[in-house]
Symmetry: C2
Subunit: 418 residues, 2 copies
């Protein structure tokens, strides 16, 4: 099989799909999404039986229980996937919005109109629900999608895509709006990453290794985050009770997520009053603490942190604790070790809150709130296709607007260049 | 010499410069720009004498007169360069602007704050004034710049950079804010393009070959346009006098620019009334016409256009003319051959104007105005660092705002993730 040709042909179909979709009115896109949601529920048994093939194969290959769980589709998960499509249908359509329009001295009006990006390649790993989630967001924003899921979920993904495409066709949308790389070869990804001029954007979702491979090999713009090494700085003027709740929530509420805290920075003047109670509470929740020498002196149960630990995303109930001399040291620490994903300060001091907000350069900087809140739904974007720590195009949670770009439009009456 | 190390060290200096510059208040940046403008004028004789070295070398190498002209710095050009810096100083500072802020049901305020991108690499060709122009825009938007000019202008560029850095230091800015790759080896560009994580954005300006090389080799996001293959479609309901002026201006006013028209599309029903007079006027201005068979039948002086001509950016007094059956054919032609830079329709028909505006997917789409108006100054952005035909981050003329990104900021009062 000529993998290069296979992927190229798919991308050309997607490009035709994108051109057609860019013209589709909201009402048609929304109806298609609702019908897709219904079809996923109606054909749930088909999905479950295709999913079984993936699970059996995964079990045979000896994949971990956690991975098999992530892979599994059951009625509840299919319902949630279906509900997600309905919610995206209900969001406002970003396409066609004129974000600004102004008048020039020569009488012409110049404005910016939001338009779809075109063809978006989504590369992801095991969870099959991403197939429907990513499709719904791309489609709503007028983009064709090329899906490339993990090989371990290939039967499930094929079944989902087949349902989505059936509906797309039935609703008069170009089937190229939803395309799927149905071969497991890694070469297919590499071929897609060369298709500059046909594919407009790549969004990889998954482990750091996958994302680095994609970024290093792509000629197409990539939006991504490698990892989330997030910090909370407890300032000397923090409300201690609030600081405790925020630090507990940021670490414990769901430690396996990219916006969970990995390092807690504590201002020296309050370290002796704040840390013992806080660390006791962590202990009760099973958090293993790795402390700087000063922290270990306060809390003997802590292991000693190594410098490389400060770069690590544990995704687990493990926490670095460092006592810093002042906010300058905290900001320096974050500038050096943070992945620029999410960093928070807890303080009642106005001046330091404002300085932290300004000087910390991360996709989201919070005052007196848990890092776990950096999320498209929590921030009110309606939905998210991922979080970007890039500085180009989109930074932080990416919703529907981030799946569009703008073009300049001009209403003239015969204006010329003098 | 270890070129990799040389470029790496420069980039690290630029990154330090960027961190410092991000905190600099507008007043300091503006004062530095004004002082730079003064210093360029005060030290004009130094610039002219360094520039002479480049010109002599270029003459010895047998470079074309046009290229030597582009290379030349004289008092008038130094004045213009200086004036450009003063104008950028007068523009509003985009950094720190909160573009939007909203309230969430849990009481936290979420907003987007405009921040600098960081370190921007500018790769350009012969004109030394780009050195000062690009520096001023990057610096105003809080970014450190790594400049890499054409080897034929290396003495001129070094002299300009040395003046700019002297002023930066004197004004208390980190000298890493303005850095310059002072070796002519092409390898230096390749080394810079690998520095993901240190350099945040690359903007190449110059010929298509240079830009393709940069894009294919960069792991860092690139903003660029390859070329400008721009169209004017003269609709059957155009005002003939307006259409004539717009088409003449778009081709003749300055044919060597990226937003000059390369192909004129004429709606068949008016082709016989519109074309003879129009083409006669072009003839008077020395425009060589390449026409489709129907156009050649009307205007015998036209050569026959070949299909590959429709992809060409002539940058010269050469024009393709094609008669199309209707607007559908015009839109199809543009979708196929346009470089998605600038496309214009001339019409008094409301419905077709709106449809063209919506369906043509270019960085700027104009109704009843010359393509030559797609420009940062003309559109009111104050200045431009280039035009992008990309769909990610910036599309169309790029001004100061396009040299920033946004981060999310949150004002909380103890909010947690439930």
């Amino acid at each position: 099989m000529d993998i290069g040709k296979y992927v190229y042909d798919l991308a050309v179909e997607a490009k035709a799909g994108a051109r057609a979709l860019a013209k589709a009115p909201s009402s048609r896109k929304n109806l298609a999404l609702v019908k897709m949601a219904e079809a996923l529920k109606d054909r749930a048994s088909e999905l479950v039986s295709e999913n079984k093939k993936d699970i059996e194969y995964a079990a045979k290959k000896g994949l971990s229980k956690a991975l098999i769980d992530r892979l599994t589709l059951n009625e509840k998960r299919i319902d949630e996937m279906s509900q997600g499509l309905v919610e995206v249908a209900q969001l406002p359509d970003p396409v066609g919005e004129i974000t600004k329009m102004w008048q020039r001295p020569n009488g012409m009006s110049v404005g910016r109109m939001r338009v779809p990006i075109g063809v978006i390649g989504i590369i992801y790993e095991s969870r099959p629900n991403v197939t429907a989630d990513a499709t719904s967001l791309c489609l709503k924003a007028g983009n064709a999608v090329i899906l490339r899921g993990g090989s371990e979920a290939i039967n499930s993904n094929k079944a989902i895509v087949s349902i989505l495409r059936d509906v797309a066709r039935g609703q008069g949308l170009h089937p190229g709006a939803v395309t799927f790389i149905g071969i497991p070869d890694r070469e297919a990804i590499m071929e897609m990453l060369k298709l500059e001029g046909i594919v407009d954007l790549i969004i990889p979702r998954g482990g750091e290794g996958l994302i680095r491979t994609v970024t290093e090999n792509s000629r197409i713009p990539v939006l991504k985050h490698y990892k989330g090494v997030c910090h909370v700085f407890v300032d000397r003027d923090a409300d201690p009770a609030m600081a405790e709740e925020i630090c507990f929530n940021a670490k414990v509420q769901r430690p396996g997520t990219c916006n969970a805290m990995e390092t807690m920075l504590v201002d020296e003047p309050i370290s002796k009053s704040f840390l013992p109670k806080m660390l006791k509470r962590y202990e009760g929740a099973g958090v293993a603490v790795r402390g700087c020498p000063k922290a270990v002196a306060i809390y003997a149960n802590a292991a000693e942190v190594k410098e490389e630990d400060y770069y690590r995303e544990y995704l687990d109930l493990v926490l670095n604790v460092r006592i810093v001399a002042d906010m300058d040291e905290a900001i320096e620490h974050i500038a050096k070790y943070s992945s620029a994903h999410t960093d928070s300060i807890v303080t009642m001091n106005y001046e330091r809150a404002m300085r932290f907000l300004k000087e910390v350069d991360s996709s989201a900087v919070l005052v007196n709130a848990s890092t776990r809140l950096n999320d498209g739904y929590q921030f009110g974007l309606g939905a998210e296709i991922g979080i970007s720590t890039d500085k180009i195009h989109a930074r932080g949670p990416m919703g529907l607007e981030e799946l569009t770009c703008t073009k300049f439009i001009v209403f003239g009456s015969g204006q010329l260049r003098e």
